[in-house]
């Protein structure tokens, strides 16, 4: 991840900026720890100054002067609109009027073609081969908000036909899948990996390749994906601009606590 590529930026920087570009001005941005937090900070500083950074721990509209290393970091509590708690934060997302303005940024250990996520176990739930942290707020966010952006490492064992455990709902099993189980219409919109950008087809809700980073081919992406991807719509992804990189590096994470 720390490998620098041709014109002087890392894949991790590109991922962050790709996510930042997905955030609309005025949106309420739910973010977790690490790269998703940095993406929200980058969006706020670059293209979405009226967006509101928001944490499941209860902080709304944090003024992030240093990058937090967890969503409970005291740095998220500084100059917020309200310091509440988990109950208020998740209610804001489940709320019909505010939840519809929230974009959630999530990560996971596994993803399937419909954008359903696993962040709980690999193997059998009762006797797992690998145990992860568990849902945290991921299931809640994926269930409540208007749309989600998902960060993934692009590996075959992570893009799978069938999840070992469905922690957070995506499009479930295709069009109408969410509605059938009782959820609202919002769902995953974009998957940002270290290779490119994937989106979901309107008609099928299946993941397709939307763009490759410079130097990445659609075939490479398919090779590292455990299910068949539509590669036909893949475009070249515009690399980070100098302005974007400058703000990301100098204003968002000058200590390179997350970028490295």
């Amino acid at each position: 991840m720390t490998v620098r590529i041709e014109n002087g930026y890392s894949r991790r920087e590109m991922m962050t900026i790709a996510a930042a570009r997905e955030i609309f001005d005025g949106e309420i941005v739910f973010c977790g720890t690490g790269i998703s937090m940095l993406a929200a900070m980058a969006a706020k500083n670059i293209s979405a100054p009226q967006s509101t950074i928001f944490f499941e721990t209860g902080a709304i509209d944090s003024r992030l002067e240093e990058v937090p290393l967890a969503v409970a970091d005291s740095r998220v509590m500084y100059l917020t609109a309200v310091n509440g708690g988990l109950a208020e934060a998740f209610a804001t997302m489940q709320n019909r009027f505010t939840g519809s303005r929230v974009v959630g940024i999530l990560g996971a250990a596994q993803i399937d073609i419909y954008g359903n996520l696993n962040s709980t176990v690999i193997g059998d739930y009762q006797q797992p081969d690998v145990r992860f942290s568990g849902s945290g707020g991921a299931c809640d966010v994926a269930s409540f908000v208007n749309r989600t952006i998902i960060f993934m490492q692009h590996e075959k064992r992570k893009f799978v036909e069938k999840l070992d455990y469905l922690t957070s709902p995506g499009w479930i099993n295709g069009p109408g899948g969410r509605e059938r189980i009782g959820l609202g219409p919002g769902g995953p919109e974009t998957v940002i990996t270290n290779l490119g950008i994937l989106r979901f087809a309107k008609e099928t809700k299946k993941m397709y390749l939307a763009a490759c980073y410079p130097g990445v081919t659609p075939e490479e992406v398919q090779q590292k994906t455990g299910f068949a991807l539509d590669l036909e719509r893949a475009e070249a992804f515009p690399p980070p601009t100098n302005a974007e990189l400058k703000i990301l590096r100098e204003r968002c994470d000058p200590q390179r606590l997350i970028l490295n």
Partner: protein, 325 residues
């Protein structure tokens, strides 16, 4: 105890009298902030066993209790400590080795479970969980649930909305209440009766506190009663819920306590490294936790200059410019 006028006691006495082997315990805080670490370490020192632990995302405290072998069963949403441990290491090992029974919920579900307990309700509804394996897979089997009356008979129950499609919610997940035997939280200020003030985010501490049969509050500062009562809008916990008040400065260390001190990146990084290996973890436990007689001795193991670097800046509430890599 709850109506007594003076609940101030020592940590050792509070843990001895209220934490019994096999009891149901919940601890406050979130990942690397305001975990009641002094109390966690005292529980480890008193070698409590068989705890049934409830948490949402209380990373560091949970991992140390699990690592020290105090925990029999864990109900949790998230076991991580932010960048210091995306998955808590001793937790991960214990689960992968089959040494710990875990029941998974989401953060909101756990919050609602504590909230239901605090509200005196058997359950609360949410839309979170529909369609997921959190509903399908039970960590605690039906047999266990049927044989242990301290557990609800079901993990979660899905129902149709009895009000039709009111609020566009055709289905709801009901999450069962938690009423722990004991909750322990760490706060910035409390008075001797137990009125308490949390500064910064409250996480789910207030719900966890009010859901419990017994409540231990550890605090940075013990203040005069009228100090808190003069500004009651800023207090969250009235004394009527409280059993014991333990003044213990740096009581959340090595996690942070907003406006008092930051988390200790060096400690947390060292902890993770120690946790990766069983032998080095036993050394950590013996040297860092069990050898010191109490939290003061534990703190004395860190050099004063280092601790001073963690002291919060009065404006921002954290240690500005702290070396955190």
């Amino acid at each position: 105890m709850k109506s007594s006028q003076n609940k101030v006691t020592t940590l050792a006495a509070a843990i001895t009298s209220l934490i019994k082997d096999n009891c149901h315990l919940s601890i406050g805080g979130f990942t690397i902030n305001r975990n009641p670490m002094a109390a966690v370490y005292e529980i480890i020192r008193q070698r409590k066993r068989g705890l049934h632990l409830y948490a949402h995302s209380n990373g560091q405290g949970v991992d140390e209790l699990v690592g020290a072998g105090c925990v029999r069963r864990l109900e949790i949403a998230y076991a991580g400590s932010g960048r210091f441990a995306p998955t808590c290491v001793r937790f991960r090992k214990a689960v992968e080795r089959g040494e710990l029974t875990v029941e998974d919920y989401s953060n909101y579900q756990m919050t609602l479970r504590f909230m239901a307990g605090a509200m005196g309700l058997p359950f609360l509804p949410t839309r979170s969980g529909l369609g997921t394996d959190i509903i399908k897979h039970w960590g605690f089997s039906k047999e266990l649930r049927n044989s242990d009356e301290t557990l609800p008979k079901q993990k979660l129950v899905t129902i149709d909305n009895p009000f039709g499609n009111w609020c566009e919610s055709p289905k709801l997940v009901l999450v069962p209440a938690i009423n722990p035997d004991v909750t322990i939280i760490h706060v910035q200020q409390a008075d001797r009766r137990g009125n308490a003030r949390i500064k910064g985010l409250t996480f789910a501490d207030v719900e966890q506190a009010k859901a419990a049969r017994h409540l231990i509050i550890t605090c940075e500062e013990l203040v005069e009663e009228d100090f808190l009562k003069r500004d009651p809008d800023h207090n969250q916990i009235p004394f009527i819920h409280v059993d014991a008040v333990v003044p213990i400065p740096w009581g959340a260390y090595p996690t942070a306590c907003y406006r008092h001190y930051d988390y200790d990146p060096r400690y947390l990084n060292n902890y993770r490294q120690a946790a990766e290996d069983d032998k080095s973890y036993q050394t950590y436990l013996a040297e860092k936790i069990l050898k010191p007689a109490d939290h003061q001795e534990f703190l004395a193991l860190s050099d004063k200059k280092h601790l001073k670097s963690l002291v919060a800046d009065p404006e921002t509430g954290y240690a500005v410019g702290l070396e955190r890599s």
